[in-house]
Symmetry: C2
């Protein structure tokens, strides 16, 4: 059989997702496997046992990342397929799990075909990607990439007051292995978590990188006043100022257009009563763009908007940056590889940026990385109704398989 | 002494306010006398005892309104000076109390001068004006004016789950008297509860009427979406729609101008998170204007704004009227009387509308009514820091005295 004709088993992949999804399953659907809880430990145990059943050599690093290694002919850099198996408190079956289990499915497919790759293939599951129990998110890959010290990470305290190091030891996943750092290519298959592929009727998202993210908290100090007895000219209305900024954010992102997104998701007024002019308002602004310069332009527009509103409504406004992640560009050669692979499989594609954070953007500082997106029904994620159709899962896993083979068997004529 | 030269005793008026203000006094300042509570009963007892000390004949009607009567030479219609002594939970010493206690001060002044008026003078304290414990507000005057049946009123349940009739009987103020319904003129002295007089450096507000009030609750149904992964064109952002409406209310009231006021005091988003496009928003809109036609125009503009935003942001919007009070115009002759009296006393005045509700607007359906406003420092009211300077209190009470004398002694040459 020609390597190019290899295909994963779609039904088996769905079964893998269902089996892992049964661990921490919520009544009525969805799953809850918060990082390092008893349910997530059972998920880890299941993953390790599946890895072993496929003949993978399992290693655990000190932050609890799990690696399943399928040795290649050479000792050179590995091809890594990874993601995570922790979830948010009310998550779905696909976010994270797909990237890990499709990695297992790739290994199973190679095993079934009796193929020995040139490079070693590693399936990785990174610790605490969601950041739902321990902050920051993407913690396992951050420590793996050396962006945070192990000691600092182990001392992080969870939302339920537990130390990460203690929780990791308690579930038996404080490993001693180093994990493979010499990586030729890292591929992560993930659901889109957005509506674009579905909306455009496309099968594969070729992820060029991850948007830069800037979160700003804006606090507006006005003056409380009676809504009936205070003439407009004597008001310092924090609520009106908040509304003007929120509406202005809507306008400025539309003006920039393209991939620019901006959201005022939270607005809190005080005293928040029908007949009192608000004394105080706190709002958040979430700005994202794949290009650092455009993102900086949006931030400048926001700052100018805030100044204008402060002047116009006679209020005092302070702004605080809550998060500031620059955009990540994936390795162009790997992005091309994903695209050519998908097109070669006859799948429809579009290049896109990820609007959410992923382990791949962390690994990108260590090695060439890229991502494959498959459609999310209604764009829904971090929700028990998260769903991706079996055919889309299968397509994505086949792109993962073939892209991995391109890199793991570079001298194979059929893949040249 | 000429009747025109009569003046109240400013220091004695302040003492009256301090004495009543000591009942239900809050630590650190302010007062709490929620209607029909033990503290308010003590306030009532104090008032009745002060009335009796001034020789007034005290009567209590079935809704607990207190009337102190000073007989005139004739049995004709009475001149009534009134307001209320209940407060909000964290109120000040002036709102309501001033109108009642200035009435007592007028009586004391007449007593001291040995003046017998032609018309009977009545000082009135109406039950539950604030509406802070029992809704609706202005309940005592509403029942007195026949706008609600006594039975219905007695069955109202308080915010702490008590039946009004039971509470009224428990404090001993379920009276059997009818109260004087044949009223030649009703005057209410009140603090402005707004900043206009202070801002313009004026001493007396000649109140022409009470603004019409329209409260609308607007509920916006959008679609929850990831703030990073959902392109602008695929959003149905309830938060953005809420902001556009709130900002639009700010614009439309400025466009109408003049006495128009409009406030979005409450904005509630769901889920109200930094990185989630809001699925739902509920906001309140408070519109007020003294003229019914202009208020109707503002409501029409709001409706059109809501339609435009619904279309533009692809959200579903429903609106519910929470309150709808038409404007009240006070009797022109009585308004003129207040103005001429104040000018005659050498005080600076402006005609204005009340932005808040008062017993006077209810009595206005029964008899000629008018109000006198004095400045509120910083426009603050319904707050423990509520304050009006002694000189302003004295000015207001002198206007009340002289306006009352104009009506109670119409054939007195000096007042003709």
């Amino acid at each position: 059989m020609m390597v190019n004709d290899l295909r994963i088993n779609g039904a088996r992949l769905v079964t893998r997702l269902e089996k892992l999804g049964a661990i921490g399953a919520l009544e009525g659907g969805g799953v809850s496997r918060l990082a390092l809880t008893a349910d997530e430990k059972r998920g880890r145990d299941h993953l390790v046992s599946e890895m072993k059943a496929l003949g993978l050599e399992v290693s655990i690093d000190p932050i609890g990342n799990i690696f399943g290694t399928r040795k290649g002919r050479t000792d050179g850099p590995v091809v890594m397929l990874g993601s995570h198996i922790d979830t948010v408190a009310t998550g779905g079956l696909y976010d994270g799990a797909l990237g890990v289990l499709a990695g297992l499915e790739v290994v199973a497919t190679l095993n079934d075909a009796g193929i020995e790759t040139e490079h070693t293939v590693v399936v990785a599951a990174f610790t605490n990607e969601e950041g739902a129990r321990f902050q920051p998110d993407m913690l396992g890959s951050v420590v793996f990439a050396g962006d945070m010290s192990l000691e600092e990470a182990l001392d992080i305290v969870s939302i339920d007051g537990k130390r990460l190091g203690d929780e990791l030891a308690a579930i038996g996943y404080a490993g001693k292995d180093a994990g493979p750092k010499d990586i030729a290519a890292y591929f992560e298959l993930h659901i889109e978590q957005g509506p674009v592929l579905e909306d455009e009727g496309l099968q594969i998202g070729v992820v060029r990188g991850v948007q830069g993210i800037c979160w700003t908290e804006i606090t507006i100090a006005g003056r409380s006043a009676h809504a009936g007895t205070t003439p407009i000219r004597l008001r310092r209305d924090a609520g009106l100022a908040a509304a003007r900024i929120a509406a202005g954010v809507g306008d400025l992102v539309r003006e920039i257009g393209g991939e620019m997104v901006g959201t005022v998701g939270a607005i809190n007024l005080a005293p928040n009563l029908v007949n009192v002019v608000a004394e105080k308002a706190v709002i958040t602004v979430d700005l994202r763009h794949p290009d650092a310069e455009t993102l900086a332009r949006a931030r400048a527009s926001l700052a100018s908007l805030v100044s204008d509103v402060a002047l116009k409504e006679d209020v005092e406004i302070t702004a605080r940056t809550l998060a500031d992640f620059p955009p990540t560009d994936f390795a162009p050669a790997l992005v091309d590889c994903v695209e050519q692979t998908a097109l070669g499989l006859g799948l429809s594609t579009r290049r896109m940026f990820s609007g959410a954070g992923h382990d791949a953007q962390i690994i990108a500082s260590l090695a060439p990385a890229a991502m494959v997106f498959v459609p999310s029904v209604n764009g829904i994620s971090h929700n028990v109704t998260e769903f991706t159709a079996p055919a889309d899962l299968e397509n994505g896993a086949n792109v993962l398989l073939q892209a991995a083979l391109h890199k793991a068997m570079p001298t194979n004529g059929e893949n040249a």
